[in-house]
Amino acid sequence: MISLKVNGVQREVEAEADMPLLWALRDVLQLTGTKYGCGIAQCGACTVHLNGQPVRSCSIPVAAAAGAEITTIEGLAKGDELHPVQKAWIELDVVQCGYCQSGQIMSAVALLETNDNPTDGDIDNAMNGNICRCGTYPRIRAAIKRAAQIKRGDAAA
């Protein structure tokens, strides 16, 4: 048994120590919002936060995540209150097929934690590990800037 704290809840996970966190989340805890896309940390669809840092859960053994604060897409909204990044994503109609968007959003949230007014260059750097085959990149750039606005507004309010 491996003890994981996911979205603020302590969970006991029966899994091999070397099982990637991705499969522990998806197959064992049935938190399927985190996606499998490549398995080799190339596409970012599996991005979650480990102690606030964005990581590729496909390439982290579940044992290495024990004791850390894990946040997945399911834990981003506070009740019915969406995260500013989620709000901006809706406002700008970013999603298409939607499969990569959990990972995109987790990466964007992490970016805005350290940079409240990112430039296109900052966004490209932070988001370059997240592939989208529907080509939502132009809207992702715009939505991150919009989310930064919402977030700054929230902070001021």
Partner: protein
Amino acid sequence: MSADGRSVATNRRQFLIGVGLVTGGAAAGLALRPTLVGGQMLAGSGAGFQPHAFVRIGSDDSITIIIGKSEMGQGVYTGLPTILAEELDVNPQRVRVEIAGVDPAFNHPFMPAQFTGGSMSVMTTYDALRRVGAHARRALLEAAAAEWSVDVGSLSSNDGLITDQQGRSLRYGALAEAAANRSLPSSDAVTLKDPRDFKYIGKPQRRLDNLVKVTGQAEFGIDVVRPGMLTAVIARPPAFGAQLRKVDDKAARKIKGVVDVQTIPSGVAVIANNTWSALRGRDALLLDWDLGAAADLSSDKLREQWRALAQRPGLVGKNVGDVAAALNSAARKIDVEYELPYLAHACMEPLNAVAEVVGDRCELWLGTQSQSQDARFVAAALQIDPSKVRINTCFLGGGFGRRASADSDFAIEAALVAKRMGKPIKVVWTREDDNRGGYYRPMSINRIRAAIGSDGMPSAFQHVTVSKPVLANTAMGKMAVSKEGLDPSTIEGSADMPYAMPNLRVEVHNTTEAVPILWWRSVGHSITAFTTESTIDELAALAGRDPYQYRRELLKEKPQHLAVLDRAALEAGWGKPLPAGRHRGIALHESFGSIVAQVAEVSIVAGEVQVHRVTCAVDCGLAINPDQVAAQMESGIIYGLSAALTGEINIERGGAVEGNFDTYPVTRIAESPAIDVHIVNSGGPIGGIGEPGTPPIAPAICNALYAATGQRIRRLPIVKYLKT
């Protein structure tokens, strides 16, 4: 109610097709599926007034619109409900979208099958959805008229509220029971809105699937969990057509979590309690494969054979004038070869399927574009009646054609494993399985001879194309391919190019290599746009003319095309100075009923191609949701950009080399250009939007690179063949 001159009566036959089949659907007991409500998934609700398969008005005033097309990102769960909601007169933002079961009511109008593809969802359902919405509204109006004993003509509606002239009003929900207890209005009584009165169609409409997709709640096929379900991964042949000689699964069976190992036609399935155990079990298999003839199959060998083939006359797909004579007499001409590689679709969600077989019944959960065919093929594989196969459609994590499988490969294998195991089974494809699994855009070798006359304008265009035909290798082959073997998808976009061409000849060599091929976003058009638009650019250069003005002259008789071309050039600032090192290229292509022109702005910095900006103009007729038309253009451009810059599947020893995004790189955000989309509506019929954005981008970029370097790129991908 104003009519646009087309009362339903004049279209009675079509109307009855819609409503008639629906009755069949209702009788067949359409399954209740999870429903998107205000963007959230809730259990479907069955109560209320359901005049046909497409809409249900609940006594609780809920409006549920049932959609039989698959949502793969292209926006059908927003666009199609908007059309129906417009005539029903409710705000689409408050409708529920229910994912339909498989039922003839949702069949494609061109074929007896439920199918999503060919960029046809809006154009083929627009009229029917309007009529269905108007019919349901009429039924509610008649119920209100009876309630108040007034003339139905004296009533009006607005966003689900019916009002009479005395100011009385009732919500649709309050009338649902009364409407359900009355006979349906005659179709003669139903008139459609004057498009000038549209409240929702033609205006930006927020996607109805936003909320489930930004919160991780949207259920894709790979997310489905069934009680007692096991997960399987399959060790697949290392080469197309390889045969399994021997399986040693002793070590695999010892891996913790592995439940069983089963050999099925597509490979050796390792079945486990979870994906990780299945993957580790698969790694532990010792398999002996006989590559057979596949050992000799490679892209290089095919290229060698096909280049020779391209020198010989082929099956004639188009012949106007006398190309040979025109070429012979021409003083200025080109004789060049264009080549495009195999391409994987690389949907973000790798292929997968969930199946459950109980007795003579099979239930599947699929992200599929082709429900009816999947049901038929699964039934054949299990030797059961197709009516015993039930398919639940999930969200598709990308489709691009791959999820309209030619032989339902991913559905069948899950059903076979489920039958063997007697338990629900999820088959997960790894990225490598998916990328190396075939069903690619065909590799294509093209010899093009073209000439210009003394006026500089084209006098001859001869295109000999060599590739494996797409439609011929699908269930549509029988219907689409001529008895001589001419597959229209091979010559689409070339034989019917919009440019004035006095002598035009298109010839085809159909190949039969073992590599499975399939429709890949825009089918033949991403190939023919590259060959045609590059060649036109070559001819403009040969004539010493500006490539935009040259196209203008060739489109003199095509005002719709000209308008699109002009708009793209205008918005891109064609002819205006650019920052040092930046260059523009232009291309135009018509596909799926829409015309798209793109101007790409590129530079080469330290040997790296950068596409800075793409200006896109599109004429798709009426844009139901202009914002989603823009989104699909952005999508098609970036999908085509990946293909143009880096996309390449190479075959060696019968199998695909590139397995994952490290060796099959796709466009990332840092390489993604700024894109601006301009909609030109010439008033023509509605065209498609999911695919037409893709074809022009490769030639637009290559034409810009020619402007930058004087180098003509005749082989893709660019990063490999541009000399810097």
